[in-house]
């Protein structure tokens, strides 16, 4: 484990190069690259606003700016989660030639896939920042939570990414299963809705490790409050565990990649 992490560290320049390659290829036409980065977040935000509008109509409560902000704040990281898991899932398959022919730590592929999506996330976030500035959301000391929460999301995506990328090499239908989860996952994660709408039963939804993180982001940015620390710790432990389990599993399966691809 320690040796393997050291080896990964030795190959950090390769991680950087593969990430750079993935980004560079996508942003070859810079305008299209930018549009691509914000396309999915925009669609998710718009559908979120639709859902919240419908909810406001039914409950006869006015749709507040903070609610729209909250949907937007949670949609952008959700787009990152979806695209990074989708991208990692095909990362080993898409680099088949390299997996079969040259030796280096192969976890670089799923990790680079997450990092490349992180770049898209940063681009989309700057667009979001402009939106938040326009609707005068304001700021508070709790914004310091943002990098912590984002880092935890990245860690969790990397862990899941390593598991699904390795699994999809051995079982060809894993990518379809992952796709189904990514499509319907949004209904089980507080993106369009708020955990508090469910009252007491909301805690069951918080068991989804992404829920406390997304909810935390909206709490500290839109509501200027501290996220629930206990739920955050739950997500952190979950993320660390999935990263470690993913890494160990990946390393265990790695020697068999070349044969089963």
């Amino acid at each position: 484990m320690k040796e393997e992490l050291e080896e990964l560290y030795r190959y950090r320049e390769l991680l950087y190069m593969i990430t750079y390659r993935d980004i560079k290829v996508r942003y070859k036409q810079s305008i299209m690259g930018f549009l691509w980065a914000i396309l999915m977040p925009i669609l998710i935000v718009m559908s979120g606003v639709m859902v919240r509008y419908a909810y406001a109509m039914v409950s006869h409560a006015p749709l507040k700016t903070a609610d729209i902000a909250s949907v937007a704040i949670k949609s952008v990281p959700w787009a990152f989660i979806v695209s990074s898991i989708r991208f990692t899932c095909q990362s080993l398959f898409g680099n088949r030639d390299l997996v079969v022919k040259i030796y280096f730590p192969k976890e670089i592929f799923p990790l680079a896939a997450v990092l490349a999506c992180l770049f898209d996330f940063v681009v989309a976030s700057s667009a979001l920042l402009i939106l938040l500035f326009l609707i005068k959301i304001g700021w508070s000391i709790y914004l310091l939570w943002v990098p912590v929460l984002v880092a935890t999301i990245v860690l969790l995506c990397m862990g899941i990414g390593m598991i699904v990328s390795a699994a999809s090499l051995f079982f060809r239908d894993v990518k379809y299963i992952v796709e189904i989860f990514l499509t319907f996952g949004i209904f089980f994660t507080p993106v369009f809705f708020d955990i508090r709408m469910f009252g007491d039963r909301g805690k069951w939804l918080m068991l989804n490790p992404f829920a406390p993180l997304l909810d935390g982001l909206s709490t500290c940015i839109a509501h200027h409050e501290s996220p629930d620390v206990q739920w955050y710790l739950y997500s952190l432990v979950f993320s660390l565990t999935s990263f470690l389990v993913g890494f160990v599993l990946f390393k265990h399966l790695e020697p068999a990649f070349a044969e089963s691809i």
């Binding site: 320049e13 390769l14 190069m17 593969i18 390659r21 560079k24 290829v25 070859k28 030639d97 390299l98 079969v100 022919k101 040259i102 030796y103 280096f104 051995f170 079982f171 060809r172 239908d173 894993v174 299963i177 020697p255 068999a256 070349a258 044969e259 089963s260």
Partner: protein, 406 residues
């Protein structure tokens, strides 16, 4: 550090033929079937085969070992195990030092990136640091010979340019152990020569090299020692000419049918007797005996040499040398001896023979590999032939002052 660069000890590798469970949809019912009914989980176990069996060898630091064998003999599997892409089923191995494999020279390239970007990408994939690439950038670009197109996306490159750039990057990795797997099959002749020179320079610099190729000439040029693999087993590890002869000897010969006349004996000899290894420029005698089963007329004996690439580099016959056609009665034999000056440069050559009737163009008994000869050369000659160069004049002419002052 020990002087062993790499060693394989009793390496076995098992593969499965056919498909195993490669989707969850198939696996889960099979698993439950096993749990509830005690069914055999994997029928695939019986369809396995051994790609490598008990492979043991050792390469000393700075040594160049050739690996030859027919397709499917296990060469690539052995290399993949050495480069740690695959794990052996059993056995252990030791690799001392940084290992780099030239297996597929351009595997790391991305078509949308430019040549320059791909140098950095491929270089890091092969284990170089960014600074290392930066310092060798000029060399790499110059070696590839495609300076003009270095800022063009590689998808617009020809396959030759693609391979050249790939090899240039790979050739500058400076590993301690270099694995070369059939990379010389790309690029034009000039570039292949450059690759060979580069590999030889790498060997002279003390790098251990494992060289896999079907090109026996290249193997004889580069490796003093060679290993022959067949069906996943080591058939021989010995001096290259000995192993190469064994390899070629195992090619299936045309079955002896009831030909009216056949070559009954072929012998290549030097002054002392039968011989297969010659120095470039030495004289050799080829004795050929043909025997007739039935009466045949107007025969000529044809001999020719082919090189590794199956090119005919020399061809002659009794008739062309001015001898009248031979007619044989049933049971009759005819002998002839050719005296040849072996002006080839370093390499392995096949002697081929035929009994030919020129007026009706009939070939009676053709042997493409009647004998194999190895030409060694201590002289500084490369290429296909030896022109026995002598340097008879060499002087440096200082720039003359008269010219400068005009």
């Amino acid at each position: 550090m020990s002087d062993v660069a790499l060693r394989m000890e009793h390496i076995y590798k098992k593969f499965r033929k056919g498909e195993t469970y490669n989707s969850l949809r198939d696996l889960l019912p099979a698993l439950t079937g096993k749990m509830f009914r005690g069914q055999e989980l994997d029928a695939g176990d019986r369809r396995e085969f051994w790609a490598l069996q008990d492979i043991s060898f050792e390469v000393k630091r700075g040594e160049a070992l050739g690996i030859i064998g027919h397709n499917g003999a296990g060469k690539s599997t052995a290399l993949k195990i050495l480069s740690r892409i695959m794990k052996p089923t059993k056995g252990c191995m030791i690799v001392n030092g940084r290992l780099s494999a030239l297996i597929e020279v351009a595997a790391g390239f991305h078509p949308d990136l430019t040549g320059m970007e791909n140098i950095f990408l491929h270089g890091t994939i092969l284990g170089m640091s960014k600074r290392e690439i930066q310092s060798k950038l000029d060399q790499i670009v110059a070696f590839s010979g495609i300076e003009e197109f270095i800022d063009t996306p590689v998808k617009r490159y020809s396959s030759g340019m693609f391979a050249r750039l790939g090899f240039s990057v790979a050739a500058h990795v400076d590993p301690e152990v270099l694995i070369v797997d059939e990379v010389l099959s790309v690029g034009d002749y000039v570039f292949q020569q450059r690759c060979m020179e580069r590999i030889q320079a790498v060997i002279r610099a003390g790098t251990t090299v494992l060289f896999v190729s079907h090109n026996l000439k290249a193997v004889t040029e580069i490796c003093p020692r060679t290993m022959l693999l067949e069906h996943g087993k080591v058939l021989a590890i010995d001096q290259t000419d000995v192993v190469a002869r064994r390899y070629l000897g195992e090619l299936p010969e045309a079955p002896e049918e009831n030909k009216p006349v056949y070559v009954s004996k072929v012998r290549v000899r030097d002054r002392a007797g039968e011989q297969s290894t010659f120095e470039s420029g030495q004289t050799a005698w080829v004795d050929i005996e043909i025997t007739a089963r039935e009466a045949v007329d107007k025969l000529a004996v044809v001999i020719w040499f082919t090189d590794d690439a199956q090119y005919t580099i020399f061809n002659t016959s009794t008739e062309r040398l001015g001898f009248a056609p031979v007619s044989l009665k049933a049971g009759g034999t005819y002998r002839c001896t050719f005296e040849l000056c072996l002006n080839m440069a370093h390499g392995t050559f096949q002697l081929a023979t035929d009994i030919f009737r020129y007026d009706n163009q009939r070939s009676y008994d053709r042997h493409n590999r009647a004998a194999t000869i190895f030409i060694g050369s201590s002289m500084a000659v490369r290429g296909a032939v030896n022109c026995f160069p002598k340097l008879i004049d060499s002087e440096t002419i200082a720039s003359s002052t008269e010219f400068c002052e005009v």
